[in-house]
């Protein structure tokens, strides 16, 4: 039993100015956390209790899934991350430091490398596999803009697990075991989730899924169809239409289209000067967007992407499509340096040459949206100032150097698996499972002897759940205007007993009741504060959010109290000698 009169806690009546998400606001107001720096938080006793309960659930499910717990430091030397290339790939996203001898270190954002090396040290034979090991550990990322409290912090706690197998089938089984464990964990945490296909590229792997908690404040957009397809927007792939025959297509014609550097002005011009039965729309145009890539080695490259004029380049999809290069829009200087790129009038140039301007564009890759299949006909730039070409046919008049998935996704787009149109929702990433394959084992030389005594490179998976982030996600999904409404399994206490008034007899009855409740194994927060009004006590109870509240007030001397259900708001008079039984019934 913890007495509120002694608990290291202060609740706040008003919303703290620093809070920019519901969970951040409520966890501060109810005294669960405090700011310790930008994106850094201190955990007060109430917060730590919830955190421990979440960790315990994760631990139980990891054990049930056959995973074994280990623990690494947060501070690690550069060398293993150098060997896999991630020391460079991480860019500004991680904290780096040097020790007194000038040796480079990092605060690890994830531990693939050192888990691989640890297994290399401990395991030598297939007999010791399959193996899944995990840790619950504090991680660091140097976020550009820490925000939303625990949802995007610079220090955060994760469970990260890594599986080791010899065969692809083994990896698939280990992956499935973790995926199943994640489903059980989120069910126990009371967190809605959608499993979406994710891009595996950044981790160098082959299969990847994210667990997203659907919420309007989620930083991730995801799509799903009614019949089960789900992917985050970055991993969404276009359902490629069939090619169209173009034998009968008329020849392309270039027209003067002065002052039409945008899709809108071009469409208006076409409808006025080249009208046709069906009016021209943006979807008839082929927009050519110049992007600037910065590769890992620092070298830069311009690429031009051709996509239907009614779509934009989606920044996140472009990031994924071109990773590990960084993507930006081309600058005025880029255009100036490449006079072949006539801004506002760029057209394809990998074609037979008909539509190419005089200036050379040699060396600039031209990539196409997958919808631009052979036989599709486009209104697009003629690579000359003030001119566009009408009726340009893909596959006849131009071809790309490849396709790329950077176009924005829209509600109603067909799911790639043929399961129909998709909707777009927002979600918060609460878990992630990856099939890494052999990338890390190859880079770090993790091999074991197989049954026939030959060395085999191990195949790996990587599985992460944010502990502190999920705690905040739960608050996002479990609160009302009065405060937090904890799911029972992770509430800081099972029961909150509030004694009101100034009658010592009442407090003595409450004290006895607390003892009786705790005798059943339930944990109690006891508001024993003298000289605090019932209103303040009730407000604190609602803010703190323990699932069940027992009020012991004046009626106590007649053996009566009140039992509140925080979630439903139900309040019922109850005989105090029945409280324990009622609480045990659930």
């Amino acid at each position: 039993m913890i007495r509120l009169s002694q608990l290291f806690l202060t609740t706040l009546r008003d919303d703290p100015a620093e809070a920019d998400a519901v969970s951040h606001r409520l966890l501060l107001r109810a005294g669960y956390i405090r700011r310790a720096g930008s994106g850094l938080f201190a955990w007060l006793p109430l917060g730590l209790r919830v955190r421990r309960r979440i960790e315990e659930i994760v631990r139980q499910e990891m054990t049930a899934a056959g995973a074994q717990e280990v623990l690494f430091p947060g501070l690690l030397p550069r060398e293993p991350y150098e060997r896999t290339g991630r020391w460079t790939e991480y860019g500004d996203g991680i904290f780096r430091l040097q020790d007194r001898k000038g040796a480079d270190h990092l605060l690890a954002p994830t531990h693939e490398e050192v888990f691989t090396l640890l297994v290399q040290d401990v395991v030598s034979s297939y007999k010791q596999l399959p193996l899944t090991i995990y840790q619950i550990q504090d991680k660091y990322r140097d976020e550009t803009r820490p925000r939303a409290g625990l949802l995007r912090a610079r220090e955060f706690t994760m469970k990260d697990a890594y599986s080791f197998d010899i065969t692809d089938e083994g990896l698939a089984a280990s992956y499935q075991a973790q995926r199943d464990a994640y489903e059980r964990i989120f069910q126990r945490l009371g967190l809605d989730y959608v499993i979406v296909a994710a891009d595996a590229g950044a981790m160098g792997g082959s299969r990847s899924e994210e667990f997203l908690h659907p919420t309007a404040i989620g930083e991730d957009a995801f799509v799903r169809s009614a019949s089960g397809y789900a992917a985050n927007v970055e991993a969404f792939t276009t359902l490629v239409p069939d090619a169209i025959g173009f034998d009968d297509a008329p020849a392309a014609v270039v027209h003067d289209t002065p002052a039409t550097p945008t899709i809108d002005t071009l469409v208006a011009h076409a409808n006025e000067h080249q009208p046709r039965a069906t009016p021209w729309t943006a979807a008839d145009t082929l927009k050519n967007v110049v992007l600037r890539l910065t590769h890992l080695d620092g070298s830069r490259e311009l690429v031009v992407v051709g996509l239907p004029g009614d779509r934009e380049v989606d920044e996140k999809r472009a990031e994924v499509a071109f990773q590990p290069a960084e993507v930006e829009s081309a600058t005025e200087a880029d255009f100036a340096a490449n006079p072949g790129l006539v801004k506002g009038y760029i057209g394809p140039w990998s074609a037979a040459g008909a539509v190419l301007g005089e200036q050379s564009t040699t060396g600039i890759r031209y990539l196409l949206d997958p919808r631009v299949v052979d036989g599709t006909t486009w209104l697009t730039g003629a690579n000359e100032d003030g001119r566009h070409v009408f009726g340009l046919v893909a596959g006849r008049d131009f071809v790309g150097d490849g396709t790329v998935e950077v176009a924005s996704v829209r509600e109603g787009d067909p799911a790639p698996d043929g399961s129909g149109p998709v909707t777009i929702e927002r979600g918060m990433e609460i878990g992630h499972v990856f099939q890494l394959g052999r990338k890390y084992a190859e880079a770090l030389g993790l091999q074991v002897l197989d049954e026939s005594g030959r060395l085999q490179t191990v195949t790996m998976g990587s599985y992460g759940i944010g502990v502190t982030r999920n705690l905040a996600a739960i608050v996002e999904g479990h609160h009302d205007d009065k405060g937090i409404v904890w799911p029972r399994e992770i509430a800081p206490f099972d029961v909150h007993v509030v004694a009101t008034g100034r009658d010592e007899a009442v407090f003595a009855i409450a004290e006895q009741l607390v003892a009786d409740i705790e005798a059943t194994g339930l944990e109690v927060l006891f508001d024993d504060r003298a000289k605090v009004s019932p209103g303040v006590k009730f407000g604190d109870a609602e803010l703190i959010g323990v699932p069940r509240v027992v009020v012991v007030g004046r009626g106590a001397v007649e053996g009566l109290g009140e039992l509140w259900d925080r979630a439903t708001g139900e309040r019922a008079e109850v005989r105090l000698d029945e409280v324990v039984a009622r609480l045990q019934q659930g």
Copy 2:
């Protein structure tokens, strides 16, 4: 139950080259930890289990002492440490880093500042005090030379507690509560300890004690008398002798003493050229040692310390005596720049002038060992090359600018409390309790309202126990030539069941026995490995160090096994159907 066949573990037959302490060697060999970098360690499942048991004991005793658990990040901003001056004071001893915006941060070695700020945020009235809050948290120090495994690592786990009181009496009570809790913790951990007075200066406090575990490999020397006095060498104070009358003392005389720049040569010369009834010894001479201090602001200062010639300047005592300045020996350049300091012939110069050389030594402080009381007579340098002065009387011929405790301590020196001669032993610091007083609260403005509504500055204590270090300390004290011998309360398992041979019936019996043992609440490590020889299994059991081992071998079919006590080495045949009862008896 954990099956050894599946446990993520490998034991090593040979001592790893990297290991330079018994605990380091055994924890590596038995598969408890692995190296993750210089002074950085990964915890394997066995190690993590022991660690958690220690943490749980610490947590229980903290709760019993009324302390509440919180948790801070390891990464913290510079600002609070700047306000107390410790950002500078820490020097090279901590890890520092900048975030992407260039803001300074540190990996905190201790958390006084942020606990003070947290309490300032949460507490406003004396009614919320006394308060003791603690965390079990990973800390960092950029050690010059990480060594001895967990004993001097760069990342380590500590329980650090901080108490907050209004009155000095309150602080004394909070301090005592933590001190008592520490005694209980060490008793439960099976760790011998001596509580020694320590210097409180570095933390800015008023009272400080260290818990030292006596061991030959300890990095701390401490002294104790038979009747209870104990202090670390840095905190030892000299029992100052009474002053002596000098009215009848003959005048001092300067003699030529060519080629006597050392105490040995001087004593030999004196005995040859100025013989007396009792031969001259080093104890008759006053040695004057030039030290160079570097202050926090980077400025340098020379000081000269006069001490009996049979004592050395103790580096650690000098460090403490002059902190926060750094102390080094004076260099040739220092002597060259100060011709008044005649190397090998330095004498006191704060006296009436009689023994001063011609060269000025203005501005150099002259400090005396406390034994150089008024009336003591000395043979010392005459501040002239090749000359010494005989019969120089303290208080008559010279006085110091103060006293300083830098002289080495010797076995047999009298304890300062009059409790008799001391012995010197070595110990390892396993806990530390400090009365910080109001230094941090003043620097950071922590005040609360007292009963009369006035703001009062809070007085604080700080209390630390190393979790990972103590784990290693326990191994240092609990092992034999075969491996670790865990005390029962922190062993990774309660019972280690070893099934031997290849008879499936035997393994089935062992399996059932394990289930029966676990039904009583004991945790079992089950060596179920097929195709591993009994010798290897027994060796692993002894190396791993679970307190009780049950061997189930051929006799099992007749209902017989063996019960081993790892600590005593006792091995007895036992009826398998009596094993559970025997284990429960203890």
